[in-house]
């Protein structure tokens, strides 16, 4: 009789950190052949257009960055929270809080010097997302309310707050649609490359990535958050104020998601609409896990996601494979990555009896 047992393995060497994600992505693409073929697509042609559509032309390449920006921010938001074991499933709601705040300010800040408008909008959007995330953090630290549930449910609260405002005080006068008035010119993100939508928010998200990396690596706060995440009891024993660490983590995490909302509003839509986010907050969870909660990993996984999303459009146009295949590939990528990560710690031993 042959039996299998999962046992711990010795820690892998450093190169595994680079090899494993690449192997995971290759395995994902191989596995994705199954749904592509099932959808009746031609395999090589589909993959060619998938990547050509995302990277092949100047406009598409820049568009991939446009798509990556909110994904990078929500991915960072989730990764930063998860690192301290604050289970923030609410990046979607925090993103909306940021977009909503940017709308209110962006519509009404016409009267002040235009140089001040954008900084105010960005900071306020960050704070709005952060404060929205600090509600479940407070509930967690003070009342031991489960953060998975509270962060998730607050998403729906925020969606309906937004809906109520868009059908009410924020609705564009004379419009019958749930949409706000356009924000003033000074509140719009500058476009940095002509004939594209490559905007300032993309730079902001890259800078945010560097800042998070720096916080994690170089600051006492980053160290404390890591300690709280890995063993909150030992962190408490060692004199770390775990409550304050979790609160600050929530504030920064929610703030990053809020910035994603500001970016979508001030760089792409210019006015608030109900579907300002096609679920970027939820994608952020997948991206954070795929990037192994490391800022650089999150950068690459958000780029991978945006390649798939942008490329799937071209693929669909040229081969008839539905764009939904993009979501199948995203889901597959996470599953493969999680399994691969499992095998960095464990191996299967075959027992013969």
């Amino acid at each position: 009789m042959i039996r299998f047992r999962i046992i711990k393995r010795k820690p892998l060497p450093g190169w595994a950190k680079i090899v494993i994600p690449i192997a995971a992505i290759l395995a994902t693409l191989i596995l994705s052949a199954i749904p592509i073929l099932l959808a009746g697509g031609h395999l090589w042609k589909s993959y060619f257009y998938l990547f050509h559509g995302a990277l092949g032309t100047r406009y598409n390449l820049l568009e991939t960055f446009v798509k990556a920006s909110p994904l990078l921010l929500t991915g960072l938001a989730v990764a930063f929270a998860f690192r301290a074991k604050f289970w923030n499933i609410g990046a979607e709601g925090q993103l909306l809080a940021g977009a909503l705040t940017a709308t209110v300010l962006g519509v009404n800040l016409g009267g002040i010097p235009s140089i001040l408008v954008l900084p105010i909008v960005i900071i306020a959007g960050f704070l709005a997302g952060g404060l929205w995330a600090s509600i479940p953090a407070l509930l967690k630290t003070k009342l031991k309310v489960d953060d998975v549930v509270s962060t998730l449910l607050l998403n729906y609260v925020m969606i309906h707050i937004m809906g109520a405002l868009l059908f009410g005080p924020l609705q564009q006068p004379g419009s019958s649609w749930p949409r706000s008035s356009a924000i003033v010119k000074a509140a719009c993100y500058p476009i940095l490359m002509p004939r594209s939508r490559f905007h300032m928010g993309i730079i902001i998200s890259f800078v945010a990535m560097l800042i998070i990396w720096f916080i994690n690596k170089k600051t006492t706060f980053g160290y404390q958050a890591k300690a709280v995440g890995f063993n909150i009891r030992a962190a408490h024993f060692g004199g770390i104020n775990t409550t304050s660490v979790i609160l600050w983590t929530a504030l920064i995490s929610g703030g990053l998601a809020g910035l994603a909302g500001v970016g979508e509003l001030c760089a792409l839509q210019y006015r608030l609409i109900m579907d300002i986010s096609p679920g970027y907050g939820y994608s952020g969870i997948v991206i954070a896990m795929l990037g192994n909660l490391h800022p650089v990993g999150v950068l690459f996984s958000s780029l991978f996601f945006s390649v798939i999303i942008v490329g799937a459009q071209t693929m669909s146009r040229m081969t008839g494979v539905p764009t939904y295949i993009a979501e199948v590939i995203q889901g597959m990528a996470l599953m493969v990555m999680l399994i691969f990560l499992l095998f960095t710690e464990f191996k299967i031993k075959v027992l013969r009896k």
Binding site: T220, F230, G239
Partner: protein, 506 residues
């Protein structure tokens, strides 16, 4: 059932190893119908392991088990239960939100079609209750019951499964005295019907009270077997504790100095809200090692947690170097110049997933020496941790190695290095060598002696009597939250300490 010569359980030459620890070595154990047999031994003597093997929880590496004259191969508890063996662990396996009845029928096939047959189950339960005098409302939710009542539910659960060999792992550890008397009555009525009970314990008085026969385990082996009527608590204490050769530790003669720790009328509750420490008074002085002996579970954990700032007492005061300790704050304990060695180094003391360096700086990473405006001074931190790794001879691939890659002895060295780096005036060492090999143990003992010579006062909490005797200037015995006795380390007798540890005040 009257034939007392035919054992109902025979375990012969059982050996069980966990990685490199041998928990049971060539142990043979028989159990007869209609008897209460006590398994007596210190923590880690292998009592629970042996019974977990009989219950099918562990499989043994060598040896044979016969239940009712049939050779058995127990792969899982269900194999044991189907042969009439039941075991009640220290931590109950009950669903708090369900009723007594629901808990009892879990996993048994009492149903009609797809529906549970609660009616006949209730009938059977009521009959059992009647027969053994275990009165509990079948419809009460388990979370509303006291610990003693929950234990009754566990016993009923076993009886409902027609268990005639009942193993109880330290059943009195969680009970109030009145509940203990109740339990003993129940056990007596069980054996009167010809059932057998194995009673795992390290409390001598209880063992003398309840058992018919006593098997003493030490270091994974059976060292003695006695009829209860033919032995005494004194003899058992000696058998249990043993007389092994001691390592030789040289200690300078030092006169104790000023008190560094002064505990006054400390009252503490445990997690179950029962009194863990009652009006405890204790003084530790400079240049002194105060050994606190006692079987674990008598309040040692709660005492160290209060000192570490991890638990708040309900009353009393603690003075450290003339200053009152602020309760419930680890930071306050650290600032009071206390070196803290927790008994649970893996879950409480260390962050196993972080690097050795990250563990070494846990308590002082935010001091001005190691950070400026929230930025870590990595140069200094590296220097600090490399110095400590060298000074304490920590065997590690480097300061960046994951702490979990270290051996048990080296983990404890990391713990000591961190806690002693600031030359604390008071050191609380709780089970500092538990689970360590002889080499690591000696290193740690020498380190503790060195700290004493430096001038620190040390409270050594340990359930290892050899360690207590080797190191202590003064020995106190903690029993049920109180100091039962005190003796100077040089002249204390092991027998006396052993009796105190078992609650015998003589």
């Amino acid at each position: 059932m009257g034939n007392n010569d035919q054992p109902v359980v025979r375990m012969s030459s059982i050996t069980k190893r966990f990685l490199d620890v041998t928990a049971n070595k060539d142990v043979s154990f028989d159990l007869y119908p209609g008897e209460i047999c006590a398994l007596l031994g210190e923590n880690g003597a292998g009592k629970t392991t042996l019974m977990n093997i009989l219950f099918g929880y562990y499989t043994c590496d060598a040896g044979e088990i016969f239940i009712k004259d049939e050779k058995v191969d127990l792969a899982a508890p269900k194999d044991a239960i189907s042969r009439g063996v039941g075991m009640i662990h220290q931590h109950f396996a009950l669903v708090p939100s369900q009723t007594v009845l629901e808990n009892i029928i879990v996993g048994t096939a009492s149903r009609r079609g797809i529906f549970l047959d609660l009616k006949s189950a209730r009938q059977a339960l009521l009959e059992l209750q009647e027969r053994f005098g275990l009165q509990i409302d079948p419809d009460a939710r388990v979370w509303t019951l006291s610990v003693g009542e929950q234990q009754k539910v566990e016993i009923l659960k076993a009886l409902y499964r027609d268990v005639d060999i009942l193993i109880m792992d330290e059943p009195t550890a969680v009970l109030a005295p009145a509940e203990t008397a109740d339990l003993f009555n129940t056990l007596q009525s069980l054996v009167k019907e010809g059932r057998s009970v194995v009673f795992i314990s390290h409390k001598l008085n209880e063992v003398m009270d309840i058992s018919d026969r006593i098997v003493v385990l030490r270091g994974g082996q059976v060292v003695a077997e006695r009829k209860t009527s033919e032995t005494s608590a004194r003899e058992l204490a000696n058998l249990m504790v043993g007389r092994e050769l001691l390592e030789s530790i040289e200690k300078k003669e030092l006169a104790p100095g000023e008190p560094v720790l002064n505990i006054k009328n400390l009252n503490v509750l445990n997690d179950k809200k029962l009194a863990a420490l009652m009006d405890l008074n204790l003084i530790v002085r400079q240049n002194e090692i105060l050994g606190m002996a006692g079987i674990s579970g008598n309040g040692q954990t709660e005492l160290s947690e209060v000192l570490f700032g991890m638990r708040s007492p309900t009353g009393g005061a603690i003075q450290i170097n003339d200053r009152l300790l602020n309760f419930g704050s680890p930071t306050a304990s650290i600032k009071s110049h206390m070196g803290r060695i927790p008994e649970d180094r893996i879950d409480t003391g260390l962050l196993m997933d972080l690097s050795v360096e990250e563990n070494l700086i846990l308590e002082n990473h935010s001091s001005a020496e190691f950070q400026f405006c929230g930025l870590m001074k990595s140069q200094r931190i590296h220097q600090f941790s490399e110095d400590l790794i060298k000074a304490y001879k920590i065997k590690t691939a480097g300061r960046d190695a994951a702490t979990k890659s270290l051996s048990g002895g080296n983990l404890q060295k990391v713990m000591l290095a961190r806690e002693l780096a600031g030359e604390p005036s008071l050191i609380i060492a709780s089970q500092p060598t538990r689970g360590l090999d002889v080499g690591a143990m000696e290193y740690i003992h020498q380190r503790i002696v060195k700290e004493r010579e430096r001038g620190a006062g040390i409270l050594l909490i340990s359930d290892d009597l050899d360690e207590i005797f080797a190191l202590s200037d003064r020995i106190v015995v903690l029993y049920e939250g109180k100091i039962l006795g005190e003796a100077p380390g040089a002249t204390a007798s092991r027998e006396q300490i052993g009796l105190w540890m078992s609650g015998v005040k003589a």
